[in-house]
């Protein structure tokens, strides 16, 4: 039997603890090495910035400009928000796995910004998380980011700036877009059309939650930047197979998506193919989760692809699916029973791997008043005081997400993905993700094979939780 190392949160597995001060001192050195090895990024307008790693005059493959815009969610519903290239969602970036890409990001806001390439296994400098050591984009400045996309699949890019109590910043804004990474081997393309569906909630406000603290609610929601009934319908033909690439870009809300009369065959989650392509009537997506699913259009009519919960749909979260030659009032989903189990998409007989290291991560909250957001902790400490989690390159780490709070948490690991191993004690396998919802009072175990050295941020993808301390760094030993 191989030995399993049980790591206490305050210790490193190699028996050496690192103070936060020592860690902060060491971090830039590690980052610099990585920078030279495999990425390029430069702050073009920052005095004293690192030397350019892209030859002068190289034309970027894509350009993103962050600016404040007025956006029409519906004819009588305009909002002001920050967005990429004046549109919501930002432009669809199609790249190819293994083929280097360069993106120039201009920041026209009056504050620093940062863009995170969510789901990509790329170096720290390009990843877009200042906590790891990625550079911020200064107000009025720009940054040229380059990386080699991997893995393939449905990914996205978004601001990684903190919002704190400002509900106009961070992911409350319109700074998000799809990054679609085509496999190097080419797209098998067993579908007739591909549709990208991006969910977002707008006009956030604080309200009292059932558990006694404040939470964020929203006035309205959208699909692809438009409220239900105001965007162009998705036009289909009977018998077509439509590939839906779905992203929940909400700052805080999980969403249930349904298309009445149809079923979703789930092909991939968070960009990674699932072991079992199960067919379901309703999809659940936590903040930052993605689902790739194919729907066979075999129920002619006019339908709403939208939130299964009426309140969200009434607030605008939906879009119309219109069969050729069909008109009339769209049929709306019935919420029915909202059930979701990741294990449905796993191996029927999961392969049991023995971890090299087991790392418990306990999620708790601290009450700060009925008129405040809770403070969040991992293993008893909030960011920036949280102890780094030490991982070892090449080893299999069993991460035990132990949610002892009353909230669900969509936890996200940067620059890696992990395999689901157990949900509420029930074994699974074959589902690889970079975000997983850990429901209140439950445990989820995942296996991380550490394969991308460098500081790696781990956090709850609910913006208010992240802002209130639900973050820590994974650090390679």
């Amino acid at each position: 039997m191989e030995p399993t190392i049980q790591v206490r949160p305050e210790d490193s597995v190699c028996g050496r603890t690192t103070s936060r001060r020592a860690f902060l001192t060491a971090a830039p050195l590690a980052a610099g090495a990585l920078w030279a090895r495999s990425s390029f990024a430069r702050a073009q307008t920052v005095p004293g910035a690192s030397p350019p790693l892209v030859e002068p005059g190289v034309k970027p493959d894509y350009t993103l400009e962050i600016s404040e815009i007025e956006w029409e969610l519906a004819p009588k519903k305009k909002i002001r928000t920050a967005a990429y290239n004046g549109q919501i969602p930002g432009p669809l970036l199609r790249v190819t796995e293994g083929k280097q890409v360069s993106i120039e990001i201009g920041n026209r806001l009056d504050r620093e910004e940062i863009v995170h390439w969510h789901g990509q296994w790329i170096p720290v400098e390009a990843d877009g998380a200042m906590e790891e050591g990625s550079p911020m984009i200064p107000a009025g400045g720009s940054l040229l980011v380059g990386f080699t996309p991997r893995p393939a699949g449905l990914h996205w890019y978004h601001t990684h700036a903190m919002a704190q109590r400002d509900l106009k910043r961070g992911l409350y804004s319109g700074q998000f877009g799809i990054l679609q990474v085509a496999p190097a081997s080419g797209d098998p393309g067993r579908y007739d059309q591909e549709q990208f569906i991006v969910l977002h909630d707008w006009e956030p406000y604080y309200t009292a939650s059932d558990d006694g603290s404040m939470m964020v609610s929203y006035v309205c929601g959208s699909v692809n930047g438009k409220m239900l009934g105001h965007g162009e319908p998705i036009r289909v033909r009977e018998g077509e197979r439509v590939l839906f690439q779905i992203l929940n870009a909400s700052a805080t809300e999980p969403h249930w998506l349904a298309l009445p009369g149809h079923k979703f065959q789930v092909l991939a989650m968070d960009g990674a193919p699932v072991a079992t392509q199960a067919t379901v009537e309703t999809l659940r997506l936590g903040p930052a989760e993605r689902i790739t699913a194919v729907v066979t259009m075999d129920a002619p009519g006019v339908w709403v692809l939208g939130e299964a919960q009426k309140a969200f749909r009434d607030a605008g979260m939906g879009t119309v699916i219109e069969y050729a030659g069909r008109t009339g009032k769209p049929h709306e989903p019935d919420a029915g029973k909202l059930m979701w189990d990741y294990r449905v998409f796993g191996d029927a007989t999961p392969v049991v791997h023995r971890p090299d290291v087991t790392i418990p991560l306990v999620f708790t909250s601290r009450f700060k008043g009925h008129g405040a957001l809770d403070e969040w902790m991992i293993n008893g400490k909030s960011w920036p005081d949280a102890d780094p989690i030490i991982v070892h390159e090449g080893l299999r780490h069993r991460l035990v997400f132990d949610n002892r709070s009353m909230d669900d948490h969509p936890v996200h690991l940067h620059r890696h993905n992990f395999e689901l191993v157990s949900i509420r004690g029930a074994a699974t396998g074959g589902v690889h993700k970079d975000v997983v919802i850990v429901e209140a009072g439950t445990k989820v175990e995942v296996d991380l094979v550490a394969s991308n050295p460098g500081n790696t941020l781990f956090h709850c993808h609910q913006q208010d939780h992240m802002d209130m301390g639900f973050m820590t760094l994974f650090r390679y030993a």
């Binding site: 558990d211 609610s217 006035v219 009925h370 405040a372």
Partner: protein, 260 residues
């Protein structure tokens, strides 16, 4: 809603009227309304440890136990309708029905994202002359509140009008209530509640004849389904019952599918 009582017919009118208070529902209102498809049932229990004795045609408040049942139905996310059954129990009279009130209330929806909570309540109803000389009364109560961190503030500058009774010609009464509280823990909130009746807005009563009451109170937040409040009130003016112990126990009931 009446705070301290079915008022006192204008404090300046006569001493007897000034002693006519009852304490049926002692509560500073927050701006929230009951959610649609749900009902709040509350029992207000108030015991006057030191009040006034019986007077001609008017029951005593001293050692009176007042039980009030309040049922509030949420209509939508910005309105509710409340109904009250007032009772009194005291030596020599036994349990007595006192009267009923109805209370519609509207609020500024949270979706408007105002920096403070604002709602407007109006209450009308009947109470028997044995317990209040003014038998038909009406009240309008603006409510403003704010929760910030561990602190909570609420102000209810209520105006009251007698429709039938000796004070019918006295005009509008001003009876504000204020609450300030602090969350010691998630479950325990402590604070101070203040209730007053200054008399007619055109003829403010003398301090002697004003009602002034201070309630150190605690709220127990044991569950979102339950509301528990307890306090002990001190009335320093002669027109006020001097010692009152109050308690509120409320329970939410949800009906049908709730809005997610």
């Amino acid at each position: 809603m009446k705070l301290l009582s079915f008022f006192l017919a204008a404090c300046g009118l006569c001493a007897a009227a000034a002693q006519a208070q009852g304490n049926y529902e002692i509560q500073v209102y927050g701006a929230d309304t009951v959610a649609p498809r749900s009902t709040m049932v509350e029992l207000h229990s108030n015991f006057t440890a030191k009040g006034h004795p019986a007077m001609v045609g008017l029951a005593a408040t001293n050692h009176a136990e007042h039980e009030t049942v309040e049922i509030t139905q949420g209509i939508n996310d910005w309105s509710e309708l409340g109904f009250y059954i007032f009772t009194s129990e005291q030596s020599g009279l036994g349990m007595q029905w006192v009267g009923d009130h109805i209370r519609p209330r509207v609020r500024v929806p949270e979706k408007w994202r105002w920096p403070v909570g604002v709602s407007l309540s109006t209450e009308a109803g009947y109470q028997r002359a044995l317990f209040s000389p003014d038998t038909w009364t009406w009240e309008i109560r603006p409510i403003i509140d704010k929760t910030t961190g561990r602190w909570y503030f609420a102000v209810n500058p209520a105006l009251e009008r007698t429709w039938h009774g000796p004070d019918v010609n006295l005009g509008i009464d001003f009876s504000p209530a204020v609450k300030i509280s602090y969350d010691f823990t998630k479950q325990i909130t402590g604070g101070l509640e203040y209730y007053a009746d200054y008399g007619s807005i055109t003829n403010i009563a003398s301090l002697h004849n004003q009602q002034q009451q201070f309630f150190p109170a605690i709220d127990l937040n044991v569950s979102p389904k339950w509301e528990i409040n307890f306090g002990v009130g001190i009335g320093p003016t002669s027109a006020t019952d001097h010692w009152i112990v109050k308690g509120i126990v409320g329970r939410h009931f949800d009906w049908g599918k709730q809005k997610q």
